[in-house]
C-alpha cells in the first residue's frame, strides 16, 4: 500500500494538479505556465510543508532506501513542488492590481506561516484557508466584478469599493466551468498534501528516578 501511494497515487495526483493549475478555458483552451513569482511562492510553500512536517523528505529520499525507492521519492518531491507552483498560478488573478495584491497577500501569509513553526494539522488547515480564501476572491468576488451585466453581488461590491476605480480590478471574464475546475484542482491538491508521508512530533516519556 505504501509503495502504491508513493509510486502511483501521489505523483499522479500532483501531476494532475500541475496540469489543471495552468489550464484556462476561454474561446480557446490554453495552458499557462506559472509566472516567476508563483515559483517563489511554490518554494516557500514547499518550505512550509517541510517545516510543518506535512512532508518528511527523509522518508522519501535517504541513504537507507534502495535507489528505486529514492527515485519514487524524488518524483513525489518534484511533483509536489510543481503542483504547489501551479496552485498559485491558478488562484492568482491574471493581471493588473489584483495580481500584485494577491501575490503580496500570499507572500505575507507564507512568511508568517514559516515564522511560527506550526505542526502538521495547523499547516494543513492553513493551506485550506489560504487556497480557499484566494479561490473565493478570484473566482467569486473578482469573477462577479468582471462578469458582464449587473448582478446583486456586483452592486454590493460597487458600494463597498466606492472610490476605487473598478477598471483596475476587472479581469478577463471567466468561463462558467473555470470555477468548478479550480475547486476540483484545489481539492485534489489538499487531498495530496494530506497523503504525503509526514513526520509526527516525537515525544519522549522520561521517568525520573525517585
Amino acid at each position: 500500500m505504501k509503495a502504491t501511494i508513493e509510486a502511483v497515487y501521489l505523483p499522479l495526483l500532483f501531476l494532475t494538479v500541475a496540469l489543471l493549475g495552468g489550464l484556462r478555458l476561454d474561446e480557446r483552451v490554453t495552458f499557462v505556465p506559472p509566472p516567476l513569482f508563483a515559483l517563489v511562492l511554490g518554494v516557500m510553500l514547499f518550505g512550509v510543508l517541510v517545516r510543518g512536517r506535512v512532508l518528511a523528505p527523509d522518508r522519501l529520499m535517504s541513504a537507507s532506501r534502495p535507489s528505486l525507492e529514492n527515485l519514487n521519492g524524488l518524483v513525489v518531491i518534484l511533483s509536489t513542488f510543481f503542483a504547489a507552483t501551479q496552485v498559485f498560478n491558478l488562484v492568482t488573478p491574471e493581471a493588473g492590481l489584483p495580481f500584485l495584491l494577491f501575490n503580496v497577500f500570499l507572500f505575507v501569509l507564507l512568511v508568517n506561516t514559516l515564522a511560527v513553526s506550526p505542526d502538521r494539522v495547523s499547516v494543513l488547515r492553513s493551506m485550506a484557508i489560504i487556497t480557499g480564501a484566494a479561490f473565493i476572491l478570484k473566482f467569486i468576488v473578482l469573477g462577479a466584478i468582471s462578469a458582464p451585466g449587473e448582478s446583486m453581488l456586483k452592486r454590493v461590491l460597487y458600494a463597498l469599493l466606492e472610490g476605487v476605480t473598478l477598471g483596475t480590478l476587472t479581469q478577463p471574464q471567466l468561463h462558467p466551468a473555470a470555477g468548478y475546475l479550480a475547486f476540483a484542482t484545489l481539492a485534489l491538491f489538499l487531498i495530496g498534501l494530506a497523503m504525503l508521508p509526514s513526520r509526527t512530533r516525537s515525544v519522549a516519556l522520561i521517568k525520573l528516578d525517585e
Binding site: 509510486a7 502511483v8 505523483p11 501531476l15 528505486l68 527515485l71 518524483v75
Partner: protein, 169 residues
C-alpha cells in the same frame, strides 16, 4: 513475493509518472486547441500521423481552380490536427492568393497566411520546406513567408504607382 510486487508497482509508477509528466510538458509547449490536435500531435510525435489524402486532393483541385475559401475547408479537413507541413503550406498559399490585390492586399488574410507558413516551417524536417508544384511561383516556404511579411510591411514602395503592374505569384 511481496517485495517483488512492491518493486513492480514502483517501476510501473515511475514509468507512468514519466510518461504523464512528458505529456503535460508537451501540452504546455504545443498548446493544442482541440482533441484532434492532441491526438494528431501525439501520433505525429511517434511518426504515425497521416493526413486524409482524399480531402487533400479535393483541396488541391479547388486551390488550382482559384476557389481558395473552399480549398482551405478541404485542407483543414485533410489535416485536422495541423501537423502536416505541406498541407499548412497550401493553406498559407491560399491565404496569400485570397488576400492579394493589384492596388491593395487584405492584411488580415496575409496575417493568417503568415501564421500558417510559420507553422509549416516549424513542422518541416530541419525547418526547410520545398513543395514541388509547377503551378506555384513560390515553391519554398521561405519565399512564401518573405512575400507575406513584405505585404504586411508599410514602406515607400507601397506608394509606387508601378505597383499595379506587379504579378501575383
Amino acid at each position: 513475493m511481496e517485495g517483488m510486487g512492491d518493486r513492480s508497482i514502483r517501476v510501473a509508477g515511475l514509468a507512468l509518472a514519466m510518461v504523464y509528466a512528458s505529456f503535460i510538458v508537451w501540452l504546455y509547449v504545443r498548446q493544442p486547441q482541440t482533441l484532434a490536435e492532441v491526438t494528431g500531435g501525439l501520433t505525429a510525435t511517434v511518426g504515425a500521423y497521416r493526413i486524409d489524402q482524399r480531402s487533400f486532393d479535393d483541396g488541391l483541385d479547388l486551390f488550382r481552380r482559384e476557389q481558395h475559401e473552399a480549398s482551405r475547408a478541404a485542407f483543414e479537413r485533410a489535416d485536422p490536427a495541423g501537423q502536416d507541413a505541406r498541407t499548412q503550406f497550401y493553406i498559407a498559399y491560399s491565404y496569400y492568393r485570397s488576400g492579394w490585390g493589384r492596388t491593395y492586399q487584405d492584411n488580415e488574410l496575409f496575417k493568417m497566411g503568415l501564421g500558417r507558413v510559420d507553422k509549416a516551417i516549424a513542422l518541416a524536417p530541419g525547418h526547410r520546406l520545398m513543395v514541388d508544384d509547377p503551378g506555384l511561383d513560390m515553391r519554398s516556404a521561405d519565399e512564401l513567408r518573405a512575400e507575406l511579411a513584405e505585404g504586411l510591411r508599410v514602406d515607400a514602395s507601397d506608394f509606387n504607382p508601378m505597383r499595379v503592374f506587379r504579378k501575383r505569384k
